[in-house]
Structure formats: C-alpha cells, structure tokens
C-alpha cells in the first residue's frame, strides 16, 4: 500500500488536521487557521515523545480523538486539545498499569452487569483493542484506521459503537466504550493532565473550573449566566 510508505510521524500532522479547521503542528509552534469565532490558539498539544504509545498506536489515538471531538467553531480538535497526550499519560501511569483494578483469577466471562472481567491492564487492553481495530479496518479498506478519511473513520466508530464491527475474539463495542470514556475524561478533566488544553472544553460549555468560592455568586448569579473566565488547578499554584 502506497501510503504505508509515508513515515508515521509525519503523517500524524495530517491525521490531526484531517477534516478540521484547526491545524496544530506536532513539534512546531501552534498554527491555527480557523474562523474568526474560533477559540484561542492552543499551545503545542502533542509531546515530543510519547510515554507509552507506539507510533501506530499514537496515530490511532489521535485519529480517534479527532473523530470523536472534531474541530469546529467551538473547540480545536481532540488531539489539538491534548486528548491524545492525556490518553498516553493515563495509559503510561497508575491507571494504565491497573491501579484499583482487582486482578485475581479465575477470569470468567460474566454478564454485562459484572463489568470488566479481563486480566488485561488498561494499557494492554488498549494495545489489544487498537490492534484489533486496525486489523478490522485493514481488511475492509487496506489501510490503518488513522489513514481513513473523516467520513470513513466516523462510519467505522459508529459500527463499533453499535457492536456491528466484528473483531475476532474481541468486543468492538466494549473497546469503543473504553475509547469514548477515556477521550471524554481527557477532554473535560483539568488541563494539568495534558488534555483540555487552554480549558477548551470548559469554555465550550461554560464550566468555570474551580473558582475559590461561590458563596456570594450563588446569590448574585441566580439564574444568570456566570461570566467569569474559568480557572484550572494550575492557575492556583
């Protein structure tokens, strides 16, 4: 396949920008070309080096978060907001290693109401899920997920979400849920974790983050739009 010859790292730039109004360089200073109403430019959203994701996985994650959170007049794309960075850091850290996950066997197939029943840590679960998704996508399109066009990526994720994508021996629906959950965690959590850069999601919805006190505001802003800019944990340090 011809496009497999494109070095993955270079391709990341394109993946992050596909179908979006905002273009953010991987290592260069931020470049944002967007409508006048676009949010403020964000600083470089991707790290120089990923902590745990390999290049194929990093490209996959960027393409997923940009599909789930496309750039528009409300915010830059998921990856430009740092959501891929967030996911990399989460999977590299305690959560990814299985913190607060009971991992004694035997590992039996439960009902859906039992929740996660696999032996895999989140890090290894995502490794397996990304590989399974790319295998499935390659069979249909001859290329990895991150090299699909936006419409194809959306269609693929929808099939996974609805459980129609058949991954041999692996639940595409559950993996989609894991992707959606960690993407939303990254988009909406405090920017100290690498996602939600410039508090883009908080500005989008009007969440003020963590002002010190609403003791007076709760009366002053009764049924009134709260108009103070958001603050992150970093703003208090």
């Amino acid at each position: 396949m011809a496009d497999d010859n494109i070095p993955r790292r270079t391709f990341l730039v394109g993946a992050g920008a596909a179908g979006s109004a905002a273009v953010t360089g991987v290592t260069a200073s931020p470049v944002v070309a967007a409508a006048d109403s676009a949010p403020a430019p964000v600083a470089t959203a991707q790290p120089d080096a990923w902590l745990t994701l390999n290049p194929t996985e990093a490209a996959f994650v960027m393409a997923v978060v940009d599909t789930l959170i496309p750039a528009d007049e409300l915010t830059p794309s998921g990856s430009a907001c740092g959501v891929a960075t967030f996911i990399d850091r989460q999977l590299a850290g305690a959560y990814g290693s299985g913190a607060r996950l009971y991992r004694d066997g035997p590992f039996l197939k439960g009902k859906p109401e039992h929740g996660y029943q696999l032996a895999l840590t989140p890090r290894d679960y995502f490794r397996a899920g990304i590989a399974a998704t790319n295998d499935w996508v390659r069979k249909r399109h001859g290329k990895d997920f991150d090299r699909l066009g936006e419409a194809e990526r959306e269609a693929a994720l929808k099939e996974m979400e609805q459980g129609k994508a058949e991954f041999p021996g692996f639940s595409s629906k559950e993996f989609f849920e894991a992707l959606l959950t960690i993407t939303m965690e990254g988009f909406f959590s405090d920017p100290i974790y690498g996602g939600n850069r410039d508090m883009a999601s908080w500005k989008m919805v009007g969440y003020p983050g963590l002002p010190a006190s609403y003791r007076d505001d709760v009366k002053t802003y009764f049924n009134k739009k709260y108009d103070k800019p958001p603050q992150s944990i970093a703003d208090f340090v």
């Binding site: 599909t67 789930l68 959170i69 496309p70 528009d72 409300l74 305690a94 959560y95 913190a99 607060r100 996950l101 009971y102 991992r103 004694d104 035997p106 039996l108 439960g110 009902k111 859906p112 109401e113 039992h114 929740g115 996660y116 029943q117 959306e154 994720l157 979400e161 959606l180 939303m184 965690e185 909406f188 959590s189 405090d190 100290i192 974790y193 999601s201 908080w202 989008m204 919805v205 009007g206 969440y207 003020p208 963590l210 010190a212 006190s213 609403y214 003791r215 505001d217 709760v218 009366k219 802003y221 009764f222 049924n223 009134k224 739009k225 709260y226 944990i233 703003d235 208090f236 340090v237």
Partner: protein, 591 residues
C-alpha cells in the same frame, strides 16, 4: 508470628462516623480506646486543600478516596444458581477507606427514618393486612421506635450542623418543612442552604401538583457553626466538589471535621492507621470477643489486641466479613431461612431519572453542595396509600444538581449522538440549561438477597471476598416504575423546553453505573437471636462485649440516605454501653 499486645478497655474497628462516635463517647466515659483503621491517616487541613482537592479526574473518576479493590472487593451473582464474579472496579457504590471512612467523601444528605419505617412490618400489617406482605419479603420492625431514637437523631444532627427546615416540631406541622417527618424536639441547627434555580423550579412545579416541597436536610453548613464538641465548621461555599471529595472549607460534616479533632486530643484514645483487621477471636462458651487480630500494613507484622469491649464500626461489607471470618453468629441460609449473618442485605433502586431542559434558565449546576435543592416526601415510605398498588415503599424525590463537573455530568436531549459535531453543539447548548429530577427507591428485604463468603475469590490478605447474591425483585421494579411516572409528571409540570423521560427498564442490578453507596443489612437488628445478629442496643447476641454499629444493622433499606440513622444508632448504642453495659457487663436484652 503474632505479637500479643497488652489489653485495653475498648477496640474500635474502623474509624469513620460510627467508630469515631463510639470512641468519643467511650473515652468521655473514662475508657481507654484503641481505634484500628485499615486505611491511611488523612487530615482535612493537609489532604483536602485547594486547588488539589478539586481534581475531578483524581477523586471522582479514578476513585482516590475509596476502597482499593486490589486490597479487597466483593463478588456478585444475581441468583444462587449462578457463579459470582468479582467486582473488579468499583462502580455502583463507593465504600471508603482511611481515617474518616466514607464520611470524608459523602454528600451530606442527612435524614431521619419515618416513624412508620421504624415499625415497618407492624405498620403495613395493620394498614393493609399481614397477608398483603409477600412471603419472600423478609422485612421486620426496628426494635427501636422513632420516639426512642429521636433524641439521638437530634444529637447527630447537632454534631453535623445539619441545615434544613423542620416540618414537624413537637407535633406541630410546619409548612415548608417535611410535613411527613416524625416530631422533632428542635429545629435544625442551621437554616437551609441558598436556593438553586433547579430547586426553585422544582418547588413551583410540585406545589402546583399539590405536593409538599422542603429544602434538602444537608450536613453542609449554611453558616459558620460550632458543634457540641466545640468544633467549628465553615460555611458552605457551594464549590460543587462534595460527593467523592473531601471538603476544603470544613463546611461538610465529617469525622475529620466534626469529631476527630476532639477525639485525637484525648490521651485515652489511640489511633492506629494502616491496621487491617483480619478477624476477631471469639470465645463461644464465654460469649465474648477476646481480642482483635490485625496486620500493620506498613510492616507486615501481625498483632493481637485484647480488649474488654469491641466495637465493629466498619462499612457494611467488613462488618459482615469479620463475623463470618470469626465464626460469630450463624451464617444465613436462604434455603432453610435459618441463620442470620448476611441476611436481609439490601441496597436501593434507582428510578429512571428525568432530565428537563430550559432555554431561558441559567442553571449554573457547578454552584452547588452535595445536599442541595428541594425535595418531596409525598411518595416515600407509606406516606401515600398503597392499597391496590401491588407494592410497598417509595422514594424521596429531589431536584437540584450536586455539581456541574463535566467529566461525568453533561446532560443532552434524548437522541443526541454521544460524540462528534452534533454532540458538541448539543453539549455546549444545554450544559447550563438542564437538570435532573431523581429518586432513589427503597429496597425491602428479600429472602434470596444475602451476603456470604465467596468460595473462589480472595482478597490481598488471602481471605475470601464477600459475595453478594443480589438482584432487584418484583416489589423493587414496581416501586421504580411508579416513582419514574411521578418524576415524569413533575418534569412536565415545569413546562420545560425539552424533557427526557426514559422508560424504567426492568433489569438486573448492575455493578457498573453509580447508584448509591447505601448498602445495608447482614448484621441486622432484631428481637429474636435466631432472626437477627444484634439486639436493640446493637449488641451481638453471640458476644456480649461486641457491638456492631452501622447500616449493616438496618433490617431493610428505606429510600433515605442512611447516614442520619447510622449516626443516631451510634449515639443510641454508645448510651446503652455507658449507662447500662459498663455498670453491668452482660446481655442488655434477655431473649
């Protein structure tokens, strides 16, 4: 090798709400008390400070303050015929660990039971006939009446500085309070919290329907308050980081704010954190617990702590486990109905929540406390006629966001995609213009719902996990369907721009979505040693010097959040110990 320590007067297992209250009352009575807490030592001034405590990911999502399932979890099966699987990641409920227990990260909703809840079986039998109660519904009366417990409810409310408005002051019904509550001797210690848009909207709607709204009874102080321990709470700042978080303004009552500073300054109390209790040494002949065995998780060393009196004040699951590990009491057998340890395990049943959307209202859900908003009790307990309804019980119903933290709370109209451009637009449009109306229904005990030891899965100490054999039953589904319909009626009465009224779906109990940390039962109160684990003073039938304190003694679960009743029962048991047991150690009730 186990190091045997010198005997002390009292060992308290678990230093959360109940352990702190018992330890405080018993040291005040002159006893030397050791508190064993399995988790770390946390102090509000060090661990719950701005800005770090407002980390939604760390506390609300990654579960920083909760029981670590790598140490200990529970297994779940829906019926005896199934194999239980471990709950590998907490979801439905979030037990605490560490100093203060779940009392550090609760929301602060502080209820009393209805007088009729205290005599549930008798009341329902009298009103509807004994035959109306299904055979497999193993509900019982509390062997403590509302009137007997009232002074202790009052005491716990004063400890917590509860903000609210009385609806029944010494028999006088007061409009604007909960007119269904039992008579209270005093007004709440603090006035209600500030009104929210959601609460105000709900209040207007339920009044138009003829219901009786009142402000949430909240252990988030509406003003600076000094409690009877001489400890001062700050005024709530509506930061929207209550449940799952510690409170940085000391406005949410918790053991760490409301009692531990006094307890820890008393030389008669010794706190040992990282002390993971393994079992109790029980002398069956003498009907006494001789000692408590624990491992110091900092060193791996095993210790045996003898004591004259033992208080089991851990969470529901641990209270049950320690009896089962120690051979105290007879494990419940659902086939024969014999035995009592593990019996009447209950939870609560979530109705399908209604979400209302208003283009013209600014809800500001992020300005909130954990117990914020307006409630009604018209459809709770037996406050409405159940004749011909085919079920018993109900739910308190409430509107008023507890937070606007967007990782977990982003209401969008039904039919909105969950991602992509349309999802973004809907989320941006509605985030500040929507709120939920919810009700968590009672869960009346069922013969087939119980706790015992898992035959397969083990905890980090090598002991069996607790196994829940649990599912919702017909009564639960019917209550939830009924309450869901009421929620829809209230939602429509608000005339919202849009409304989500999901149908109630009858399904299995799921360990995944958060429902409530309101697990109860297994070491239940009663009048008959064959049918219960503790007597009316929370004293174990099988060990005179063992008192078991917490929601594990509830014979069934009401819709109400349990902490108010748990705190009242803790003071009630403490009074029984100091006024009766200490004078004459032995059984306080002769069966």
């Amino acid at each position: 090798m186990t190091t045997k320590l010198p005997e002390v007067d009292v060992v308290v297992v678990g230093v959360g709400w109940t352990g702190s209250i018992l330890a405080r009352e018993l040291t005040k009575a002159g006893l030397r008390v050791v508190g064993l807490e399995r988790g770390p030592r946390r102090t509000p001034g060090e661990d719950f400070t701005v800005p770090s405590i407002r980390d939604d990911l760390k506390y609300a999502v990654r579960q920083e303050l909760f029981q670590d399932t790598q140490m200990e979890t529970m297994s779940l099966r829906h019926a005896r015929s199934e194999t239980a699987l471990p709950v590998r990641r907490l979801g439905a409920f979030l037990p605490g660990t560490g100093l203060g227990g779940a009392g550090a990260h609760w929301n602060g909703v502080t209820w009393r039971l209805l007088p009729t809840d205290h005599k549930l079986r008798t009341h329902l039998s009298e009103r509807y006939g004994a035959q109306a109660i299904p055979d497999d519904m193993t509900i019982t009366d509390y062997p403590v009446s509302y009137d007997e417990l009232e002074p202790y409810y009052d005491r716990f409310e004063k400890l917590c500085g509860v903000s609210g408005k009385a609806g029944n002051l010494r028999g006088k019904i007061i409009d604007g309070g909960n007119v269904f509550e039992g008579p209270r001797q005093a007004e709440y210690p603090n006035p209600p919290l500030e009104q929210s848009v959601a609460g105000a909207t709900f209040e207007t709607a339920v009044k138009s329907l003829g219901y009786h709204p009142f402000p949430a009874p909240s252990s988030n102080a509406s003003r600076v308050y000094t409690n009877p321990e001489g400890l001062t709470m700050g005024a709530c700042i509506y930061c929207g980081h209550c449940e799952r978080f510690g409170c940085e303004s000391n406005a949410k009552a918790s053991p760490g704010v409301s009692i531990l500073p006094a307890l820890l300054s008393d030389d008669k109390f010794e706190l040992r954190c990282n002390a993971y209790v393994k079992d109790l040494v029980h002398d069956k002949t003498a009907r006494k617990v001789k000692s408590v065995r624990y491992v110091d998780t900092r060193s791996g060393e095993d210790y045996e702590q003898p004591a004259s009196l033992v208080i089991l004040g851990a969470y529901v699951f641990t209270n049950n486990l320690l009896l089962l590990y120690s051979g105290i009491g007879e494990p419940y057998d659902p086939v024969t109905g014999k035995g009592s340890v593990g019996k009447n395990y209950c939870y609560q049943v979530g109705a399908a929540g209604v979400t209302v959307f208003f283009e013209d209202k600014e809800v500001n859900p992020f300005m909130a406390s954990g117990a914020h908003g307006i409630m009604i009790d018209d459809f709770n307990g037996d406050n409405f006629d159940h004749g011909g309804l085919g079920f018993f019980g109900g739910a308190w119903i409430q509107a008023g966001p507890t937070n606007g933290r967007p990782i977990l709370s982003r209401p969008v109209p039904a039919g909105t995609p969950r991602w992509g451009r349309d999802w973004k637009r809907a989320t941006a449009k509605w985030y500040n213009h929507a709120f939920n109306i919810g009700g968590s229904c009672c869960n009346y005990a069922h013969r087939e719902n119980y706790l015992d030891l898992d035959p397969t899965y083990r905890d980090a100490l090598g002991r069996p996990l607790i196994r829940m054999t649990y599912n919702f039953k017909e009564n639960d589904y019917r209550v939830a369907e009924y309450v869901t319909a009421v929620l829809g009626r209230i939602g429509r009465a608000m005339n919202p721009t849009l409304i989500n009224t999901p149908a109630y779906r009858r399904g299995n109990f799921s360990a995944i979505p958060y429902q409530s940390t309101h697990n109860t039962g297994g070491t239940i109160l009663g009048t008959d040693p064959k049918e219960s684990v503790v007597n009316r003073y929370l004293q174990a039938w099988d060990a005179d010097n063992l008192f078991i304190v917490g929601a594990s003694v509830f014979p069934q679960n009401q819709s109400y959040n349990p902490t108010g009743t748990v705190g009242a029962l803790a003071y009630w048991a403490a009074d029984a110990i100091t006024k009766q047991y200490m004078k004459s150690p032995g059984p306080l009730v002769h069966a």
